[in-house]
């Protein structure tokens, strides 16, 4: 049915698969989208790029009917349409692959794909038809999946395929993908792009939302740039450069590469030997991990999230007790029999910038000045030890906000009211103030905009050059490669290998992230 639809629309020769005119959307006082104009040519891959909070996801949710625009017009294949909910969007041939998959983990692939278009009030009628359709789509686009497999048994790449199949099965000829590569390994990303190219060749229009410049350059035909809720530019990809796109995104010149000198290393400050940990459900989540970090160097830890990075960080910062192995850190030992509390570690000079600042980094309802001394509140920063010295705390916070360019510079504002980048700057300002000798950093720039990323990277490099041993865990491969002197790759709780950052590439790291040993890769 969708094919006939496509032929008719082809006969009408609608040049634009999708067109938006003057779309605006506010949430309370926040104007997420302001007067957006957008034209997507049929049969192309069109990128939408912008920083976090630029309004990309809101715009996509409007296109897919999850949100309703306050004003503006929308056209699909040249005809004005009114998309009030997802059902309307699907009826107009729009499908969406969400950043967080809309799949029921306990359902089979078949059940997930059927959901919403079951083909009758009894499931029996639609099942055979859906299996046949899945096979047909799988053969056409090279996406074969077992319809009876449970979603919870599939890896992330396969789950994404199910999402794509679900959209295509619904008859989608316009496919929106929201940050599709965030959870994929480089190889899986390459496979996804291959699928997208096949889809384009088949006449499907693809809308790719991302904040990664490299992906825009690699796969899109055209790109639109968003900043602070507005469309700030449209370019043909072939006629633009990453530098220009970055400037449009941020609104000023930015340094894309991390600028750093060769490391000047000294003593080993962190020595991890045979470290292991079990989950509360009895699974081994950290398995015989060993490495050393010297003062003055940055060890990056790469890997798809959930492969042991979190328990490792938790052990190094005293939040989890290992069951095997030991850690020598600044002359102290952490092991199963000699656990250390986060406070003890902080006192000997271990700083911690947590992976999830909302959970472990900040108390969101506290003021910025209170967050600025959190964890150090027993010391001189908060006063004489009996009463809190509010004036002193505020003065300290003001100084730190100035130094780390936290905006707005309001020590009384609750942490929740700062943007992601500024929240992260508060955490970084706090942890760096005490001049840590070892710093454990998780996802330093998650949810942080490009301008702030540059600033945070500079701070980390400066601390390294001052002789601190830094461990950086990040799922952003570019970030790990840019920041680190050496890179350890983790898979399934194990250390797959440690490589020098200047002697590796994304391909090699990607294979290691999939669990293939370093020797086999090289």
């Amino acid at each position: 049915m969708s094919e006939t639809m496509n032929k008719t629309s082809g006969a009408n020769a609608a040049r634009y698969a999708l067109e938006l005119q003057g779309v605006s959307k506010s949430f309370g006082l926040v104007r997420a989208n302001r007067n957006i104009d957008l034209k997507i040519e049929s049969g192309t891959i069109h990128g939408i790029i912008g920083e976090n909070g630029a309004g990309k996801s809101t715009l996509m949710n409007i296109l897919f009917g999850m949100h309703r625009a306050d004003s503006g017009k929308m056209f699909a294949n040249g005809e004005q349409v009114n998309v009030r909910n997802s059902a309307d969007a699907i009826a107009h041939g729009i499908g969406m692959v969400h950043q967080h998959f809309m799949l029921v983990n306990r359902f089979s692939v078949l059940e997930n794909v059927m959901l919403g278009s079951e083909g009758g009030s009894l499931l029996k009628q639609g099942k055979q038809a859906t299996i046949a359709r899945l096979k047909e789509l799988g053969d056409t686009y090279g996406m074969v999946v077992d319809p009876h497999a449970l979603i919870s048994d599939l890896n992330v790449g396969m789950r994404q395929r199910v999402e794509i199949l679900k959209a295509l099965k619904g008859g989608a000829r316009i496919l929106i993908l929201d940050e599709p590569t965030g959870v994929l390994t480089p190889q899986e990303t390459e496979q996804l792009f291959e699928i997208l190219r096949v889809l384009r060749a088949d006449g499907v229009t693809v809308l790719l939302i991302t904040h990664k410049l490299a992906e825009i350059m690699e796969i899109t035909d055209n790109v639109s740039i968003m900043r602070a809720g507005k469309m700030v530019g449209h370019r043909a990809t072939a006629e633009t450069s990453p530098q220009e796109l970055a400037e449009l995104m941020v609104g000023r010149k930015v340094l894309l590469n991390v600028d750093k000198d060769a490391p000047q290393t000294n003593n080993v400050l962190l020595d991890v030997q045979g470290l292991g940990a079990m989950s509360s459900r009895g699974h081994r989540i950290l398995d015989d991990v060993s490495f050393q970090v010297k003062g003055g160097e940055i060890l990056g830890i790469a890997g798809v999230s959930g492969n042991g990075q979190t328990p490792l960080m938790e052990i190094l910062t005293g939040m989890r007790i290992p069951d095997r192995g030991h850690v020598e850190i600044l002359g102290e030992t952490i092991s199963h029999d000699a656990p250390k509390t986060p406070k003890q570690l902080r006192e000997i000079g271990v700083g911690h910038i947590p992976e999830d600042r909302h959970v472990h980094g900040l108390v969101l309802d506290f003021e910025a000045q209170e967050n600025m001394i959190l964890g150090y509140h027993d010391g001189a920063l908060s006063g004489d030890g009996r009463l809190m010295d509010r004036a002193g705390i505020r003065a300290h916070c003001e100084t730190q906000m100035e130094k780390y360019d936290v905006r707005p510079r309001d020590p009384m504002l609750p942490a929740a009211n700062f943007s992601g980048g500024n929240q992260q700057k508060i955490v970084i300002a706090r942890e760096m103030y005490s001049n840590p000798k070892v710093l454990i950093v998780g996802q330093p720039t998650r949810g942080v905009d490009v301008g702030a990323i540059e600033f945070i990277h500079k701070q980390l490099i400066a601390l390294r050059d001052a002789g601190c041993a830094i461990v950086v865990v990040s799922v952003e491969l570019d970030e790990v490669m840019g920041l680190s002197d050496r890179i350890m790759v983790m898979n399934d709780g194990k250390n797959i290998g440690i490589v020098d950052a200047d002697k590796t590439d994304t391909n090699m790291l990607g294979l290691m992230m999939a669990g293939i040993e370093q020797e086999a890769v090289a």
């Binding site: 999850m66 059902a87 967080h100 809309m102 983990n105 059940e111 997930n112 959901l115 919403g116 499931l123």
Partner: protein, 322 residues
């Protein structure tokens, strides 16, 4: 030996009768909880159903009108729950508790106002109740040993509402696993976003689940007061709604398994009352205190791990917000 056989049969017979309200409430709980709404208000719906059934039957003389009124009252309670938890995204446990307290108070106040009998309703005559139905050929089958007795005692002779409860189980399983509505219902309790992004209304799905639950609870309530009993007594639900909820959890939110759990609870209840003062071969007379404690001991043992780790619907208790 024949006497023991008969005793056992009578116990099974009582099991069915005592398990009926549990089964109906458990099916109600499965619909509600599978849709993602915690339903501790089963108790309140059961109680209001029981009261309205008895009161309306006493006033009109027709158990059928009583049953319909009980269903309406229970569905109304469900809609209050839905309005608070679905439309206004309130806390589901708090809303459920409020409904239970509301039902407990309202049934007594209205009962006193209408009948002036201290919260009870007048006793109903036997043709104002759903009485046991004698099945075809019971007397003929009596000539066949054992099977005849089983037929007479266990299979035949229950009220229509007991048979409805027994039919409700396969019906629920069919709806849940074989129909479009069931697929969407299971999905909305696991991941409401998946349903929303497929273009299906989350709120309407959940309201429908609560309404179906209300219908089952209404039948269960009517069974208590105009079939099993002959009038409404204060607090006559006596925690059966909570036990049904426990059965839903023991049954891992599956109709057939929850049905077995209900039978187990019903059996324990029946055995307790039947075995009081009875001399059991080889064991002797069991102290009544132990007998009364057995259902609770079994509950603790079951909860302690004999049933394996329950896997509740993933999105249960979480109000859906876009």
């Amino acid at each position: 030996m024949a006497d023991f056989m008969l005793q056992l049969l009578l116990t099974f017979d009582a099991t069915l009768r005592l398990a009926t309200p549990l089964i109906l409430c458990a099916m109600a709980g499965i619909f509600s909880e599978r849709s993602g709404i915690v339903d501790i208000s089963l108790e309140g719906k059961l109680l209001s159903g029981a009261f309205v059934a008895a009161a309306v039957t006493a006033l009109t003389g027709s158990p059928w009108i009583g049953l319909m009124a009980a269903i309406c009252a229970s569905v109304f309670m469900s809609l209050i729950h839905g309005f608070a938890c679905i439309t206004h995204r309130g806390d589901q446990v708090v809303s459920g508790l409020a409904i239970n307290i509301l039902a407990s108070g309202l049934t007594i106040i209205i009962g006193i106002a209408l009948f002036k009998k201290g919260g009870q309703t007048p006793a109903l005559s036997s043709d104002e109740r759903f009485r046991g139905i004698e099945w075809f050929g019971v007397n003929l089958m009596d000539n066949i040993p054992i099977i005849g007795t089983i037929y007479r005692q266990l299979i035949s002779g229950h009220s229509l509402l007991v048979y409805m409860a027994l039919l409700a189980v396969p019906l629920c399983a069919f709806i849940l696993y074989r129909t479009r509505y069931g697929l969407r219902l299971r999905a909305v309790g696991e991941k409401p976003e998946s349903v929303d992004s497929a273009g299906v209304s989350v709120a309407w799905l959940r309201y429908r689940a609560l309404i179906i639950g209300g219908i089952f609870c209404g039948i269960a309530g009517a069974y208590l007061s105009i079939s099993h009993g002959a009038n409404f007594v204060r607090e006559m639900s006596a925690g059966k709604g909570y036990i049904a909820l426990a059965a839903v959890i023991f049954g891992n939110w599956r109709p057939i398994k929850a049905f077995y759990a209900c039978l187990l609870f019903g059996f324990l209840d029946a055995a307790t009352s039947r075995l009081q003062g009875v001399d059991i071969p080889l064991i002797g007379e069991i102290p009544i205190q132990l007998m009364l404690a057995i259902p609770y001991i079994v509950t603790v043992l079951l909860l302690a791990g004999f049933i394996g780790r329950p896997t509740p619907p993933a999105a249960i208790g979480v109000p859906y917000e876009k």
